[in-house]
C-alpha cells in the first residue's frame, strides 16, 4: 500500500493529539475543581434547614 511512507505523519499526529487531549482534559478538570473549591467555604455546610440526609 502507498501508506508505507506517507502514513507516518498521520500516526505521529494521532499520538500527539491523544496526549494533548489527555493532558488538556486532566488539567481542565483540575482547574474547574479548584475554581469551584475557591468559592465553596472551607468545609461547606449543606444549606441551612436541609441538614442531614434521610435516604442514603
Amino acid at each position: 500500500m502507498e501508506g508505507q511512507a506517507s502514513g507516518t505523519p498521520f500516526m505521529v499526529a494521532g499520538y500527539l493529539i491523544t496526549w494533548v487531549v489527555l493532558v488538556w482534559y486532566a488539567w481542565r478538570l483540575e482547574r474547574r475543581f479548584l475554581s469551584a473549591r475557591r468559592v465553596l467555604p472551607a468545609d461547606a455546610e449543606p444549606p441551612a434547614g436541609e441538614g442531614t440526609s434521610e435516604n442514603g
Binding site: 501508506g3 508505507q4 506517507s6 498521520f10 482534559y25 478538570l29 444549606p47 440526609s53
Partner: protein
C-alpha cells in the same frame, strides 16, 4: 430533609492512581511505538490502533457506566448515581470524539478518505450525538431532581439505541459494499494492544475520580448559591 449527602474530599489516593496510570500509559505508548515492528501492509500508521482501539473501548465502557448509573438512579434516587453518570458521560464524549479523530487519521492514508460510512465509524458518530444530547438536556434543566431523572432516561434509551443503530448501519453498508474491518492479528500485537487497553482503563478510573470530585463540588456550589438566593433574595 432529603438533600444530597455528598462526600467530602480529603487528600485521597487519586495522586497515586494518577501516577500508576501515567506509568502504564507511557509503557503502553512505548510498546506501541517502539517494541513492535510496523505492520507489513499498512506500515507505521497501523500503530494508531494502539490508541484508537483503547480509546473506543474507554468510550464504550464510559457509556455503559452511564447506563448502569442511570438505572440505579431511577431505582434508588440517590443523587450520587446521577453525578457519577454525568461524569462518565462527559469522559465518554471526550474519548468518542478522540476515537473519531484517530479513526479519521488512520483512514486517510489507508482508505484515502477522512470519512467513510463504515458501520463502526457511523455508529460512533451517532453515539456521540446521542450523548451530547444527554449533556445538553442537563444544561437546560434547572431543577436538580428533574435534571437527574430526565438525563437518566436519555441515558437508558440512548444506550438501548446504540446496538440497533450499529445493526442498521451494518445492513445498510452490506448492501453497497462489505464493511471494512481490521484484519485479525496475532502474537505480540495482541499483547501490546491489551497493555494499552489496560492503560486506558486505568485512565478512565483516574479521570472518573477527578470528574466525580468536580461534579460534587459543582453541585454543592449550586446548592449553596440557590439557598443563599432563597434566604437573602426576598
Amino acid at each position: 430533609m432529603t438533600t444530597t449527602e455528598l462526600p467530602r474530599f480529603k487528600r485521597g489516593r487519586a495522586p497515586l492512581l494518577g501516577l500508576v496510570t501515567l506509568i502504564i500509559l507511557v509503557a503502553g505508548a512505548m510498546a506501541g511505538l517502539l517494541a513492535v515492528p510496523a505492520d507489513a501492509l499498512q506500515g507505521e500508521v497501523q500503530r494508531l490502533m494502539y490508541v484508537h482501539v483503547p480509546a473506543a473501548w474507554l468510550a464504550m465502557l464510559a457509556f455503559f457506566v452511564v447506563f448502569v448509573m442511570s438505572v440505579l438512579y431511577l431505582i434508588q434516587r440517590d443523587p450520587r448515581w446521577d453525578l457519577i453518570a454525568v461524569s462518565s458521560a462527559e469522559i465518554g464524549i471526550v474519548f468518542t470524539a478522540l476515537t473519531l479523530v484517530l479513526g479519521s487519521l488512520w483512514g486517510k492514508p489507508t482508505w484515502g478518505v477522512w470519512w467513510t460510512w463504515d458501520p463502526r465509524l457511523t455508529t460512533t458518530a451517532i453515539m456521540l450525538m446521542i450523548y451530547v444530547g444527554y449533556l445538553v438536556v442537563r444544561s437546560f434543566a434547572e431543577d436538580p431532581e428533574k435534571r437527574a431523572r430526565w438525563s437518566a432516561i436519555i441515558g437508558i434509551v440512548g444506550f438501548v439505541d446504540v446496538p440497533i443503530v450499529y445493526l442498521s448501519v451494518l445492513w445498510w453498508r452490506t448492501l453497497h459494499q462489505p464493511p471494512s474491518s481490521p484484519r485479525s492479528m496475532a502474537g505480540e500485537f495482541v499483547y501490546v494492544l491489551l497493555l494499552n487497553v489496560a492503560a486506558f482503563t486505568f485512565l478512565y478510573a483516574y479521570l472518573m475520580v477527578r470528574r466525580y470530585r468536580l461534579a460534587v463540588a459543582e453541585r454543592q456550589l449550586e446548592e449553596l448559591r440557590l439557598s443563599r438566593e432563597d434566604r437573602g433574595g426576598r
